[in-house]
Point group: D2
Chain length 273, copies 4
C-alpha cells in the first residue's frame, strides 16, 4: 500500500533572537544602521540558501523564510554559526515539512514557538526540525512567478513612487491572500512588481483563476509563468522562462514544458596538465 | 512680505536603471542572486544616507526612497559613482522638495519621469534636482515611529510566519494609506512590526486619530512615538525614545519633548601629544 | 600494486578576468570603490568556500586562493554565476590537485595560464579542473596556525602602525618563503599577526625548525599550533585549539591530538510536532 | 613670523578593540567567518572614508589606516557607532596630524597607545585626536601610484599564484621601506601589483630614485604616476591618470599637470518641475 513514499516540501523560518529589545538597548539604535544590518543579513541568507538551489524571502526581516528542499538541517547550524560570528545578533531556525507549502510553514512556526518566545532571552540559536524530514522524500515544487502587465508604464512612469508602491502592495496582499486561503500556497513579494508563489501542484487553470480574482478585486492585471522542479531554483527558473514567454506572446499564463538545466552554469572542463 | 524663508522637506527617489530587462538578460538570473544584489545595494544606500542623518527606505527595492535634508545633491552623484563601480547596474536619482513629504516625493518622481522611462535604455545615471532646493531652507521634519501593541505575543508567537506577516502587512497598508491620503505623509515598513511615518507638523491628536482609524479598519492596535527635528535621524531618534516611553507607560501616543543629541556618539577627545 | 589510492590535496586559484584594464576604463576608478569591491568579493568567496569547510585567502585580491577539498568543481561554476550576477567583473577558476599544496597551486595556475592570459579579453569565466581530481581521493591536510609571541606588546602597543606592520610583514615573507622553499607548503597572512600554513604531513619537529629559522633571520618569534584533518576547517580548528594551548603553556609548538568536532555547531533537534 | 599657517596632513589609525581574544572566545572561531568579517568591515571603512575623498588601507585588518584630510573627527564617532550596531566587535580611532604622513601616523598611534593597550578589555571605542588638528590647515597631499612593468606577463601569466605573490610582496616591502625610511612616506599594497604611496611633496626625481632603488634591490621594475591635491582622492586620481600616461608612453615616472575634477561625477541638473 504505502509503497509510494510520503513526499513533502520543506520550508524554514529564520527568526532573529530577541531582536526588538536589542534594537533599543541600551538606547534606540540608529535606524539606517538597523536597515543595513537587516538587509545584509538577508543577503547572506539568500546566498546561503541559493547555494543549494533554494529560495529565500525577506518576510518581515526579523522573520525570514526559505524553501530549502536540498539544504540539510545541519547546514542551518552552519549558518547560525556564521551569523553569530559576524553580527551582533543571533538567529533561531525552524524547519518544517508538509504536503503543502503552507503546512510546512505552519510546522516550522510551531516548532519555533514550542521552543520559546521570539523575545525570550533564554531562547537563542534554537534549531528545530520536523521529525518527518528524515523519513520522507521531497516532492516537486511548483513555482508561479508573477508580475504586473505594463507595470512600468502604468505605475513607475506614471505615478509618484509612493502611490505606485501602494497600488502594487495592495494587489500583492490580495494575491498572497488568495494563494494562501484557497490554495495552501506561500507567496512573497521579491521587489519591483514581482511576486513568487510557492505552491502545491496547482493547474494552469487555477493560476489563471487566481490572477483573474486579483484583477477583479484590485484592478491590477498580473501574468504568471509556471515552473515545476525538484528545487525552488529548478522550478523558479522554468517559471521565469515561462514568464518571458508571456511577455513576448501577450499570454497571461504559461507553463514551461522543458527544463533549462545547464544554460547558465558552464560545465567545468577537465584537462590533462 | 516673503521675509519668512520658504521652508521645505527634501526626499529622494532612487531608481535602478532599466533593471527589469537586465534581470532576464541574456536569460533570467537566479532569484537568490537578485535578492542579495537588491538587499546589499539597499544596505549601501542606507549607509550613504545615514552618514548625513538621513533615513532610507527600501520601497520596492528597484525604487528606493530617502529623506535627505542634509545630503547635498552632489553627494548623490558620488553614490551613483559608487554603484557604477561596484554593481552590474546603475541608478538614477530625483531629488524633490516640497511643503509636505508627499509633495516632495511627487516632485522627485516628476523629475525622474521627465528624464525618461525607468526602462528607457538611454536614460542612465540621471541626477535631477528640484530647482527650489537651492533657494529654500529645510524645515523641521516630524517622524512618527509606529509599532504594534503586543506584536510578539499576538502575531509572532501565535500565528505561523506567513499569517503573522499578512495580518501585519494589511494593517501597514491601511496605516500608509491613511497617513498619505489624509495627511500628506510618507509611511514605510521598516521590518518586524515597525512603520516610520515622515510627516508634516502633525499634532499628537492627529497621530492618535490615525492609529484609532487603523484599529477600527483592521483590528490591529498601533502605538506611536513622535519626534521632531532638523534631520530624519534627529526626529526619528526622538520618536524612538518616545515609543520607548509608550512601551513602559502603556500610552499609545507620546511626543518626545527633549533632544538626546549626543547620547550615543562619544565626543572625540583632543589631546596634546 | 596501486591498490592504495593516490591521494591529493586540492587548491583553487580564482582570478578576476581582465581586471586591471577594467579599473581604468573609461577612466581610473575611485580607489576606495575598488578597495571595497575587492574586499566584498573576497568576503563572498570566504563564505562560499567556508560552507564546505574550506579555507580562503585573499592573495593579491585579483588572484585569490582556496583550499577546497570538499567543494565540487561544479560548485565553483555556481560561484562564477553569483559573481557575474552581482559584480561588474567576472572570475576564472583553476582547480588543481597534487601531492603537496604547492604542487596543487602549480597545477591550478598552469590550467588557468593554458586557458589564456589574465588580461586576455576573450578569456572569461573559464573553469578548468585537473583531470586527476575525479580519480583520486583527497588526503588529510596539515594546517599550521602561526602567530607572533607578544605581538601586541612588542608591536601594536609599542610601534606606530606602519612600523609594526612592516616588521610583521618582513617576518611573514620569511615564514612563507621557508615553508614554500623547504616544505612545499602554501602560507598566507590572514590578519593581525596570524599566518596559516597549508602543508604536507610535516612533523612537529619540522614546524619547530621553521619558526627557529624565521627567528634567526628576522628576530621575530613565532609559535605554531598544528592540526590535521580531512578539510582545511577540520585541520585548522585543531590548529587553533593547539595554538591556544601554546598561549597558555608558553610552548612554541603544539599539535592537537583530538578533534573538536561538534563543539560549536549545535546539532539540530528533531521533534514531533 | 608665523603668518604662514602651519599645514599638516591627517591620518587615522583604526584598531579593532581586543580583537585577538575575541576571535578565540569561547573557542576559536571559524577562519572563513573571520576573514569575511574583517574584509566587510574594511569595505565599510573604505566606503566611509571615500565619501569625503579620503583613502583607506587594510593594513593588518585589525589595524587599518586612512588618509582623512576632509573627514571631521566627529564623523569617526559616527563610524564607531555604525560598527557597534552592525558587528560583534568595536573599534578605537586615533587621528594624528603631522608635517609628513609618517609623523601623522606616529601621532595617531601614540594617541591610541596612550589610551591603553589594543588588548585592554577596558579600552573600547576610544576616539583620540591630535589637538593641533583644530589649529592647522591641511596641506596638499602627494600620492605616488605605483605598479609593476609587465606584471601580468612576468608574474601572473608566468609563475604559479603563490610564487607570483611572493615575488611581488618582496618588492612591495622594499618599496615601502625605502619610502618610509628615506622619505617619511606611508606606502600600502592595494591589490594586484599596485602600491599607493602617501608622501610629502617629493619631487619627480625622488620618485625615480625610489623605483631605481627597488629595482636594484629586488629586480622588480616599478613605474609611478604622481599627483598632488587637497585630498587623497584628488591627488590619487591625478596619480592614476599619470600612471596611464606611463603605460602608454613607456615612461616610468610621470607627474600629472592638470586636474580632472569633474570627469566622472555628473553634475546634478537643476530643473523646474
Amino acid at each position: 500500500m504505502s509503497e509510494t513514499p510520503v513526499r513533502s516540501v520543506r520550508l524554514a523560518v529564520v527568526q532573529l533572537d530577541d531582536y526588538g529589545p536589542w534594537t533599543v538597548t541600551p538606547a534606540p539604535r540608529r535606524e539606517t544602521d538597523l536597515q543595513a544590518l537587516q538587509a545584509r543579513l538577508y543577503a547572506d541568507f539568500a546566498d546561503f540558501v541559493g547555494r543549494d538551489d533554494g529560495y529565500a524571502f525577506f518576510g518581515r526581516f526579523d522573520n525570514m523564510l526559505a524553501v530549502a528542499n536540498e539544504t540539510p538541517a545541519e547546514a542551518f547550524g552552519r549558518f547560525q554559526e556564521r551569523v553569530r560570528n559576524r553580527y551582533p545578533v543571533t538567529i533561531s531556525v525552524g524547519i518544517g515539512s508538509g504536503s503543502t507549502p503552507l503546512a510546512a510553514v505552519q510546522t516550522a512556526s510551531d516548532l519555533l514557538q514550542a521552543a520559546g518566545s521570539a523575545q525570550d532571552r533564554d531562547r537563542r540559536e534554537v534549531l528545530r526540525c520536523d521529525q518527518t524530514l528524515a523519513e520522507t522524500e521531497t516532492q516537486d515544487i511548483t513555482i508561479g512567478h508573477f508580475d504586473i502587465v505594463d507595470a512600468t508604464s502604468a505605475y513607475t512612469d506614471d505615478r509618484n513612487a509612493v502611490d505606485a508602491e501602494m497600488a502594487i502592495q495592495r494587489s500583492v496582499i490580495e494575491l498572497k491572500a488568495e494563494l494562501r486561503g484557497a490554495h495552501e500556497s506561500v507567496a512573497q513579494f521579491v521587489g519591483g512588481d514581482n511576486v513568487i508563489g510557492v505552491c502545491p501542484a496547482l493547474s494552469v487553470e487555477t493560476f489563471r483563476e487566481v490572477i483573474d480574482h486579483v484583477e477583479e478585486e484590485t484592478g491590477v492585471r498580473y501574468r504568471v509563468g509556471i515552473g515545476r522542479g525538484e528545487t525552488a531554483h529548478d522550478a523558479g527558473r522554468d517559471a521565469k522562462h515561462a514568464l518571458e514567454v508571456c511577455r513576448e506572446s501577450g499570454d497571461r499564463v504559461y507553463e514551461a514544458n522543458s527544463t533549462h538545466g545547464s544554460d547558465r552554469i558552464p560545465d567545468p572542463e577537465f584537462a590533462d596538465d
